[in-house]
Amino acid sequence: MLDSPADGAWNMAVDEVLLATAAETGQLTLRLYEWSQPTLSLGYFQAYEDRQQHAASRKCAVVRRMTGGGAILHDREVTYSLGWSAQGQPGRRPDFAWLYDAVHDALRAELAGHDVILQPANGQVAGRDPRAFLCFQRLSPQDLVLDQAKIVGSAQRRRKSAVLQHGSLLLQTSSCAPELPGLRQLQSKVVDIRLLQQSWPARLAARLGLEMVPASLTDDELRQAGELMRIKYARPAWSRRR
């Protein structure tokens, strides 16, 4: 599913619908999307007030995610989400930790085709602050790094036999998070986002042993997303709930 740029509330509402669809029907969905304006997404458990410590993003729109981890400044990046269900997927551990590796491995392989060589963070985690405000200043073994800078990170929300995993690939530094380098800064590399959006899904499908077909939200999913946006993600009470 390839979506047009949208605001944070809509993007998070659609991602939650993909989790619900996976949980209820077993259907797996990969969504690639963009943001209509630079947006700060807070991790589910982060305190809203903590955004005050990050001056560069104070004026940006904000939304709270349903996934864990640190805050992400969504601007010059590729964003994906994946609604996955363990139904009909025997032999895969239900803790879904393996899904990080599957998605990131496919992305590494795809980027290698663009002469961008990323590595798993594995041994570089020590010394990083696990509670840093920005997700891309934290590091866990599955993250992908280039020159010690985190370039790809993902987070999950698990619900019984289903999971939502979403994540970002930093293409360029954003003026709203100037401390984070992107591929452009680290390798003088301009990756064609459209090309990546076209070719990565097929590589991921092969990695997962699945066939992917182009899709869009059903009328019912659109209705659910609209409702979730209205009662949850667009409401200040949700963004400020902690």
Binding site: M66, T67, R93, P94, D95, A97, Q156, R158, R159
Partner: protein, 132 residues
């Protein structure tokens, strides 16, 4: 508590049922298998005492490194105790999941969900299947 004498939900919560003052009280935690699968725990959101919970529905949330998971109530009833010490000592969930790592106590109001719980042998089989 002896893990072999507990009941288990498919979602990996354990249950110890006892009679207290003529009512059934369920002590609930999460299994050692689940804690290990979650890996590094960072945050636990616990319910308030007095809240009514329903079998199969979420009563709390737990964050491990970059994943948020729901905790599901195995039975229906009222929360009568919450292990507040866990908020500042999440490591107890891993170090002592069946005693110091208990999460809530529920005064059971009806038998909904009881027939869905497994004994230890059935739960071990489930874990083996999930590890396959």
């Amino acid at each position: 508590m002896n893990p072999q004498e507990l009941l288990y939900a498919k979602t990996h919560e354990w249950v110890y049922l006892a009679e207290e003052g003529g009512t059934q009280v369920a002590t609930v935690g999460i299994s050692a298998f689940a804690v290990e699968a979650l890996t590094d725990l960072v945050y636990l959101d616990l319910p308030e005492v007095g809240r009514t919970v329903t079998a199969g529905e979420s009563f709390g949330e737990i964050e491990s490194v970059k994943a948020v998971s729901d905790l599901y109530s195995p039975l229906t009833g009222e929360i009568v105790a919450v292990n507040e010490e866990l908020r500042e000592a999440l490591e107890k969930l891993g170090e002592d999941p069946y005693d110091a790592g208990w999460i809530v106590k529920i005064k059971v109001s009806d038998q909904t969900g009881l027939d869905q719980l497994m004994d230890h042998a059935a739960y071990e089989k489930l874990c083996e299947e999930e590890q396959a």
